[in-house]
C-alpha cells in the first residue's frame, strides 16, 4: 500500500539531490538564531545525506527537535558519548552505545547496544519482531477477554439478563492467570515470522512495517469482530445442543444444571482462545507446543480440583462432581468439537485465503526461505553471488537501485574496505564500496569523519 512507503525522511529516494550536506556548528547556530529551521529541514531532507560535525550537545538535540517538529516523523538518535546525551533524550528512540567514553549515553537511552553495527540487528531483527509481537499481544488480550465476557452476555438471553455468571468464580479468575496467559507470553517472547538471519538480510522488508501496517484501527477491530462472532457461536451451539434435554449423559437420565452448561461453554472458550493464538504462531518451537497443550491440560486439572469438593463453592455456584459428570459424557465432547471447529473455521478460512491470495512480503520471504532450504538452491538471480561461506547465505552486491540497499555484512574472509574508511573508535563503522554506503538517518557524531 502506498502508506507503506512513508520513509523516515518522508520523501522518496528518487526525488533527492545527489548531494551530501555538511553543516558545522557555526552554520547551525546561524540557522537557530536566524529562525531558518524550516528551510534547513526542507533542504536537509532533500539531500541524500547530511553530516553535521563539531556540534555542541544542545545543537545536536536541536537538529532532532527540528526534524521531529517539521516532519512529524519518528526519530532515532544514536550516540556513545556524554555530549550525545541531549540528542538521545530528545529523539523518540534513543540508542546508546557502550563506548570507551563511558556510559553517559547509555544511561539516557532507551536501548543500549555494544557496537554501532548492532543497530542493524536492533532495528531489522528486534524492531521488526517486537512490532508484530506487541501488536498481537495487545490485540489478543483484548480479544480473549472480550470473548469470555460476551459469552456471559449472550447467555443473559436465557437468564433474564440478571447478570448470572456462567462459570464458578475461581474458574474465571484462573482464566487470565493460568489458562490463557502463557501461550501469548511465549508468542511475545519467541515467535518469529522469518528466520533472524533472513530478517537481517532482507532489510527492505522493514519498510513494509512503517506507517502502521500491523497496528491500526482496522486490524484491531477485526480482532474484536472475531471475538464477537466467536462468542455467539460458542454460546449458542452448546445452548441448542443442551436445551430441552432430559438427560445429558451416556444413557444417564439424571438432570444437568446451570453449572454444567456454563462449563461446556467455558471449555469451548478455552479451546478457542488457545487454538486461536496457535493460528497466529509462525514458528513452532518445542515451547510453543508445550504451552498450547499445556494450558488446556492445566485447565482440565483445575476443573478436576474444583470439582473435588465443596470448598470452592461461592454464591450458589460450585462444581462438585461436575468433572466426572460432564467430561465422561460423549455429548460434552461432541458439542465441544463442533463448537470449536465452527468458531475457528472462519479464522482458518481467512488465514488461508490471505496467505494464498494476498500474502504479505514476510509470508513470501518465508516461503522462499522454506523452498530454498528444502531444495538447497539459490534463487537464479544474476545479482547474487555466493562468497566463501559454508552456510547458505545470500550476499548481494551493492547495486544502486531505487530500493535501499542492504549494507555488507562482515566476514573475516572478506576485505571490506580501503584503509581510509577504517572503523573509528566511536563505533561509527559503516563502510561500503563504490560509494554505495548510504545513510538514511541524521546522525550526529562527536568526531569528524569524512566518507
Amino acid at each position: 500500500a502506498a502508506k507503506n512507503s512513508k520513509t523516515v525522511s518522508g520523501t522518496d529516494n528518487s526525488s533527492k539531490f545527489d548531494a551530501c550536506m555538511v553543516v558545522t556548528s557555526k552554520a547551525m547556530s546561524c540557522v537557530t538564531e536566524g529562525n531558518l529551521e524550516e528551510e534547513f529541514v526542507e533542504l536537509s531532507v532533500k539531500c541524500k545525506s547530511v553530516i553535521a560535525c563539531r556540534m555542541q550537545p544542545n545543537q545536536k538535540a536541536a537538529i532532532v527537535r527540528m526534524i521531529r517538529n517539521s516532519k512529524r516523523v519518528t526519530c532515532l538518535g544514536i550516540g556513545d558519548g556524554a555530549n550525545d546525551e541531549p540528542m538521545i533524550r530528545e529523539a523518540d528512540i534513543g540508542v546508546g552505545i557502550f563506548g570507551v567514553e563511558g556510559t553517559a549515553a547509555v544511561r539516557a537511552s532507551d536501548y543500549a547496544i555494544a557496537q554501532f553495527s548492532f543497530l542493524r540487528r536492533l532495528l531489522f531483527v528486534h524492531g521488526s519482531l517486537s512490532y508484530r509481537r506487541i501488536t498481537d499481544l495487545i490485540s489478543y488480550i483484548f480479544y480473549k477477554n472480550a470473548l469470555l465476557s460476551l459469552t456471559v452476555m449472550w447467555f443473559g438471553f436465557a437468564s433474564g439478563f440478571s447478570g448470572q455468571p456462567l462459570q464458578l468464580e475461581w474458574a474465571v479468575q484462573l482464566y487470565n492467570v493460568a489458562f490463557t496467559s502463557v501461550p501469548i507470553l511465549v508468542y511475545a517472547l519467541l515467535d518469529r515470522q522469518l528466520r533472524l538471519t533472513s530478517l537481517e538480510e532482507y532489510t527492505h522488508l522493514y519498510r513494509t512495517r512503517l506507517g502502521g501496517e500491523l497496528f491500526n484501527y482496522r486490524r484491531f477491530s477485526l480482532w474484536i469482530v472475531d471475538a464477537f462472532t466467536q462468542s455467539i457461536l460458542i454460546t449458542f451451539i452448546p445452548w441448542f445442543a443442551y436445551s430441552n434435554l432430559t438427560g445429558a449423559g451416556d444413557d444417564d437420565p439424571q438432570s444437568y444444571g446451570h453449572w454444567s452448561m456454563g462449563l461446556v461453554i467455558y471449555t469451548a472458550v478455552i479451546f478457542s482462545t488457545n487454538l486461536r493464538i496457535a493460528l497466529v504462531f509462525r514458528s513452532w518451537t518445542i515451547i510453543h507446543q508445550f504451552v498450547i497443550w499445556g494450558s488446556i491440560i492445566v485447565f482440565f486439572i483445575a476443573i478436576a480440583i474444583l470439582s473435588a469438593s465443596t470448598v470452592f463453592a461461592a454464591a450458589g455456584g460450585d462444581y462438585t462432581g461436575l468433572f466426572v459428570r460432564l467430561l465422561g459424557t460423549s455429548r460434552f465432547w461432541l458439542t465441544l468439537m463442533i463448537t470449536v471447529v465452527l468458531a475457528l473455521l472462519m479464522d482458518v478460512f481467512f488465514t488461508i485465503l490471505q496467505q494464498w491470495i494476498s500474502p504479505s512480503w514476510f509470508d513470501i520471504y518465508r516461503e522462499k526461505d522454506y523452498i530454498q532450504r528444502k531444495h538447497r538452491k539459490i534463487g537464479p538471480t544474476p545479482e547474487v553471488e555466493l562468497l566463501g561461506s559454508k552456510k547458505n547465505r545470500l550476499w548481494v552486491d551493492g547495486i544502486p537501485s531505487a530500493q535501499p540497499t542492504p549494507l555488507k555484512r562482515r566476514q573475516p574472509s572478506m576485505v571490506v574496505r580501503p584503509p581510509v574508511l577504517a572503523r573509528s573508535q566511536t563505533g561509527y563503522g559503516y563502510s561500503g564500496t563504490g560509494g554505495n554506503a548510504q545513510l538514511h538517518w541524521n546522525v550526529a557524531q562527536s568526531k569528524t569523519h569524512l566518507a
Partner: protein, 378 residues
C-alpha cells in the same frame, strides 16, 4: 576481527545448549506453511467425517422416545370444585383462591392420554417447567450449601434473604433460600387404563437414584441427631420454609435415607437448571414388575396429579414427560444437524480452496526469483 553478536561461550560456564538457544531466540522451529497438500485434504477429511457422524447422531436422537403431557390447565376431579354438571374448575384457579389452604386442601386432576409408541426399557418420568428462571442471579445466590451439608447454622445466612428466617420468631428456615423455598411439590402418579394389558394399576415408580451421586454423598447431609425439631433433634431451632406445607424432616417419613436434606427430590430441585424451560428427573419406572419388565407399552394411560404448585402467576407451564435415554442422553436433534451442516460447509470450503489453488497455483515457483531488487508491487 569478526563481529559476533552471540555470547562467547568458551570463557563462561557452559549454558545448556537449549538455554543458549532460548536466550538467543534460535530455538529450532517448525514454520507452518499452508500448502495445498495440507489444507485441501484437511478440509475434505473433516467434511467426510462430520457428515456421517451427524447422521449417526440424528439416528441416536431418533431412537429416544419421548412423550409429554401438559397438565397446567387440568380440571379438578373433586365434587367440591364442581361448577356445573360435568364441568369442574381448573386446579390452577382452585389453588390460587384465598380460601385454599395449602397442606390441608387438595386439588386432584386426572388426565387421560395415549402413548403412541412403546417406550423400551429404561423409562424415566420427568416434570418440566416453562418460564421458570432457575438461572436468575438472585435466585441462584439464594441458598446455603453449608446448612445443607449438615452444619449447624446459628445465624441466618445473608445470601438467603428474604428467605432466611421467620420474621416473627427469628427461627431459621431449614433449608433457607429461594431455591429451596420454591421446591416443586406436585405429586404425579401414572396408571394404565387398558385392561387388556393387565388390570388397571399404578405404574410402579422408584424415587431413589434420581439425584447425582456426588450431590447425595458430598453436598447434602442431615445435621447429626434425630430427624425432628425437638431440642436435641437435628433441626432444632428451625422452622419450615415459607411456602412449604411440611417441614424438611417430613419429606419422606417412610425412608430415613430419603428424608431431611437428603431427600432426592429436594436435591434434584436444588441443582438449578440452565434454561427457563427445563426438565428434572422425577421418578424411574420400576421394570422389575412383570407387566413392565421390558417396556412401557403403548396404549391409553392416565396421569393423576396432586396439583399444588402454582405457576399461573408468572405464565408458567407444567408438564409430565416420559422418556427413554440413548448414548447421547435425551432427545435433541441439534447436534446431528449441526454436524451435518458443518461437514457440508467444510467440504464446500475445500472445494473453494481447490479452485483457488488451481487458479493461483504458480505462485510459489514465481517466488524463487524474488530478491532485493524486485520492485514493490504495492
Amino acid at each position: 576481527m569478526s563481529v559476533n553478536a552471540t555470547a562467547d561461550t568458551t570463557t563462561r560456564p557452559r549454558n545448556s545448549k537449549f538455554k543458549q538457544k532460548f536466550k538467543q531466540q534460535r530455538l529450532p522451529a517448525w514454520q507452518p506453511i499452508l500448502t495445498a497438500d495440507t489444507v485441501l485434504p484437511a478440509f475434505f477429511l473433516i467434511g467426510l467425517l462430520f457428515v456421517p457422524l451427524g447422521v449417526a447422531l440424528l439416528l441416536f436422537s431418533d431412537s429416544v422416545v419421548e412423550f409429554q403431557v401438559d397438565y397446567t390447565d387440568c380440571n379438578s376431579t373433586s365434587d367440591a370444585h364442581q361448577i356445573a354438571v360435568g364441568e369442574y374448575l381448573q386446579c390452577k384457579d382452585v389453588i390460587t383462591e384465598p380460601s385454599f389452604v395449602h397442606g390441608t386442601d387438595t386439588c386432584m386432576c386426572q388426565i387421560d392420554f395415549t402413548i403412541e409408541k412403546t417406550l423400551e426399557k429404561n423409562v424415566y418420568m420427568y416434570y418440566g417447567l416453562d418460564n421458570f428462571y432457575q438461572n436468575h442471579r438472585r435466585y441462584v445466590k439464594s441458598r446455603d450449601d453449608k446448612q445443607m451439608q449438615g452444619r449447624v447454622v446459628d445465624e441466618p445466612p445473608s445470601d438467603c434473604r428474604p428467605f432466611d428466617a421467620d420474621p416473627d420468631s427469628n427461627e431459621i428456615y431449614a433449608p433457607c433460600g429461594a431455591v429451596a423455598n420454591s421446591l416443586f411439590n406436585d405429586t404425579l402418579r401414572l396408571f394404565v387404563t387398558d385392561t387388556l394389558l393387565g388390570p388397571q394399576r399404578k405404574v410402579p415408580l422408584l424415587k431413589n437414584d434420581i439425584a447425582w451421586e456426588s450431590d447425595k454423598n458430598i453436598k447434602f447431609h442431615n445435621p447429626p441427631g434425630e430427624l425432628n425439631d425437638s431440642p436435641d433433634g437435628a433441626f432444632k431451632g428451625t422452622v419450615k420454609p415459607l411456602y412449604w406445607t411440611k417441614p424438611v424432616w417430613q419429606l419422606d417419613e417412610e425412608d430415613p435415607n430419603n428424608n431431611g436434606y437428603e431427600n432426592e427430590d429436594l436435591i434434584v430441585w436444588m441443582r438449578t437448571a440452565a434454561f427457563p424451560s427445563f426438565r428434572k428427573l422425577y421418578r424411574r419406572v420400576d421394570h422389575s414388575k412383570s407387566q413392565f419388565k421390558n417396556s412401557l407399552q403403548n396404549g391409553p394411560y392416565m396421569l393423576e396429579v396432586d396439583y399444588n404448585y402454582p405457576v399461573s402467576s408468572f405464565g408458567g407451564r407444567k408438564r409430565m414427560i416420559l422418556s427413554t435415554t440413548s448414548f447421547l442422553g435425551g432427545k435433541n436433534n441439534f447436534l446431528g444437524i449441526a454436524y451435518i451442516t458443518v461437514g457440508c460447509i467444510c467440504f464446500l470450503l475445500g472445494v473453494i480452496f481447490l479452485v483457488i489453488h488451481v487458479k493461483f497455483g504458480e505462485r510459489t515457483t514465481k517466488h524463487l526469483n524474488i530478491n532485493q531488487n524486485t520492485p514493490y508491487s504495492e
